[in-house]
Amino acid sequence: MIAPTFPAGGPALTHAGHAAGAGWSVAFPLALVLAVLYLTAAARVRPGWPRSRTVGWLVGCALVAGVGSPFVTTFPYFWATDPRTHMLSHLLLGMFAPLALVLAAPVTLLLRVCPPVGRRRIIRVLRSRPARMLAHPITGLVLSTGGLYVILLTPLYAAGPVVDQAVQVHYLAAGCLLTWSLVGLDPSPHRARMSMRVGVLVAAAAAHAVLAKYLYAAAGRMAGELATDARTLESAAMLMYYGADLAELLLALVLFSSWYAQRGRRLARSRTAADRGPTGVPF
């Protein structure tokens, strides 16, 4: 169970330089800029932009802004340098916020508000080989989950405030890339096949769970290096494990429900065709 235990010794024990997900960070202004840009664009779309998408975008921005401010991440765990604070930032920036942002179809919105010249240019970029490779689920998997291994298992984790800000931006960007490649609603010229997307989702979820259990197992050894206690690290690892389950559940629901809807459209089409056709199959 994830119990927010206050380790003996308190804040004095924790790493002085480490502040990922604590206080104000670059995520806060980033979220504000993203929200303003989207709202401005959505207001210009005629005859109107779906309100649910705007809500999705704002929810995503609110999560990002929350991580960038001292209120969401430090409040539950009392002080800033707690490893659980880092985990919470990782989960919100890398998994929950990207899902909300991706479901708001930002590229579609961009295409709708751009003049024809700009639109053609964007489409050309989306079709280019580098964009195709970047938008592949395996690229997203390597950058987000692979990046997580690098961050959490190397001194990057406690490398100081500048690196911490970069880590936050990385969590968000890599999370968005992976989520977009798996469940993006935007038109994608080279959307990966369903089997590839399910496979990458399982691989990402498994690699994440393995890392969480590894951190749990190594808590005793790592606690000394990170100047915290083993129980706090263990509960951070469990937060990572079960928090990711919730995010993966949501991702799987979106992925499979869109498959179900798409198949439903195909079924309706083939039924109409069968009704019309001279040799329609009776059923």
Binding site: V202, A204, A206, Y214, A217, D245, E248, S257, L267, F283
Partner: protein, 155 residues
């Protein structure tokens, strides 16, 4: 891109597979909720797990969560297409549950030693009940699946 038309009509094989996927997911959820969380018999990690056990545990955990969701949408799609064969589905479900149970009981608990069923007790009766229970489910699943196949022979 041309896709083949969607098949309509009873499909015992897909019914069995979809329900088996659900069975695996359901048993994994029961394992997590009942044995890990409610009874707290299983441990999150018991410090005797080798690296390969950690890997298999993560894959199984992630795979079964996604299997549960995917299985239900697959099942719903079969129903929508009137392709569901209930008897084959039940057979597949029991098979999925039983296979997960036995795999967890033999490979995870014994070979990879991710964790044991319970701690501080004699394990033999627990292991026997766990794996024999799984075997009974597998047999019941096979019987149902075979019965479904005989009832509606596939051309």
């Amino acid at each position: 891109m041309t896709r083949p038309a969607v098949r309509v009509g009873p499909d015992p094989r897909a019914s069995l597979l979809a329900a088996a996927v659900i069975g695996i997911g359901v048993m994994a959820a029961v394992d997590e909720i009942v044995f890990h969380q409610l009874l707290a018999w299983h441990h999150f990690y018991d410090r005797s797990t080798p690296a390969v056990g950690l890997f298999s545990d993560g894959l199984l955990h992630a795979g079964s969560l996604i299997a549960l969701v995917g299985g239900f949408f697959w099942f719903a799609d079969l129903r929508r297409r009137a392709a569901l064969v209930p008897r084959a589905g039940w057979g597949g479900f029991l098979l999925g549950v039983g296979v997960f149970q036995v795999f967890d009981g033999l490979v995870d608990h014994k070979v990879l030693r991710t964790h044991q069923i319970r701690y501080g007790v004699d394990l033999v009766p627990y292991d026997l009940a766990w794996n024999l229970g799984g075997a009974v489910l597998i047999v019941a699943g096979v019987v149902l699946a075979v019965a479904a196949g005989q009832r509606r022979p596939r051309s």
